[in-house]
């Protein structure tokens, strides 16, 4: 593989190149999907940060609508704008002061952004390797065609 550095791509057989190409394409799809879902998560976390910001501006007794389903709401009054319940993951929730909730979501957002950048880097590296392999493969095939006895006889 490319990262081993010891093997020249041009020295691989057509079969090996084909195999590598397929493998890389699968990896690319995998990372592209991961990137997609990470972006989705980032969006959700941003919404939570926004919600915390809004909540901090509210006072006790502020009227609000509480969604029971996505299309049905009931009237509610804000009892405690200072405390929120946040989902930590794996079924755990913690009651934290609203300011801490904001820290929590911002931490989460930072982590997601870090991972997004990591995956973007991997993706561009893999794309580069894939194009090198595709090129080598085409060169190999062109070479084989020109070396066919039929052409050599000309």
């Amino acid at each position: 593989m490319a990262e081993s550095g010891a093997v020249q791509i041009s020295q691989l057989s057509v079969e090996q190149l084909n195999h590598l190409q397929k493998q890389l394409e699968e990896e690319l799809t995998f990372f592209a999907t991961s990137l997609e879902s990470l972006r989705g998560f980032a969006e959700k976390v941003t919404q939570s940060v926004q919600a915390v910001d809004d909540l901090q501006k509210k006072e006790r007794g502020a009227a609000s609508l509480i969604p029971l389903t996505e299309s049905m709401y009931i009237r509610g009054e804000l009892m405690d704008p200072q405390t929120t319940l946040v989902e930590l993951g794996t079924g755990f929730y913690a009651e934290v002061p609203t300011t801490k909730a904001k820290d929590f979501f911002e931490r989460k957002h930072r982590k997601i952004v870090e991972n997004t950048e990591k995956i973007e880097k991997i993706l561009s590296e893999k794309r580069f390797t894939l194009s090198a392999i595709t090129e080598a493969l085409q060169a190999k095939i062109a070479d084989q065609i020109s070396n066919l006895p039929l052409n050599a006889a000309k």
């Binding site: 319940l85 930590l88 993951g89 794996t90 079924g91 755990f92 929730y93 913690a94 009651e95 934290v96 929590f104 989460k108 982590k111």
Partner: protein, 126 residues
């Protein structure tokens, strides 16, 4: 060995080889699931560690939020992490094992292919 027996053997080996590849895919998928569980649990652990001792923590069980002591929550996540790491190790071993098996099978298959070709050649000469 007659050509037909060879061919029968060869087909059997091919089937075994395909099964090996299927197993391998399964192991890879298992590892992926474990990896994502590990990441999620690590994040929960970090967050639990950041919480002050007086914090109220709940666990969602079915449709109910049950209050759990912070120390209890921490030890639960800790145990979960240990379990996941153990499982990851097990799947890694399975994967290494399956890679070796696949390689051996591949070798055997190409040997058999040669045998068949030879048998074909001799049969053709007769």
């Amino acid at each position: 060995m007659s050509l037909d027996t060879l061919r029968g053997e060869f087909e059997k080996e091919i089937a075994a080889f395909k099964q090996l590849e299927k197993d391998r895919e399964k192991y890879v998928a298992n590892r992926q699931t474990l990896e994502s569980q590990l990441t999620e649990n690590q994040m929960v652990k970090e967050e639990l560690d950041l919480l002050g001792d007086e914090s109220k923590v709940f666990k969602l069980i079915g449709a109910v939020l049950v209050k759990v002591e912070l120390a209890e929550a921490r030890s639960q996540v800790e145990k979960r992490l240990e379990y996941i790491q153990g499982e990851t190790k097990r799947v890694e071993d399975q994967l290494t094992d399956s890679t070796v098996k696949t390689k051996n099978k591949q070798k055997k298959l190409s040997e058999m292919q040669e045998q068949i070709q030879k048998a074909f050649a001799t049969a053709g000469k007769k």
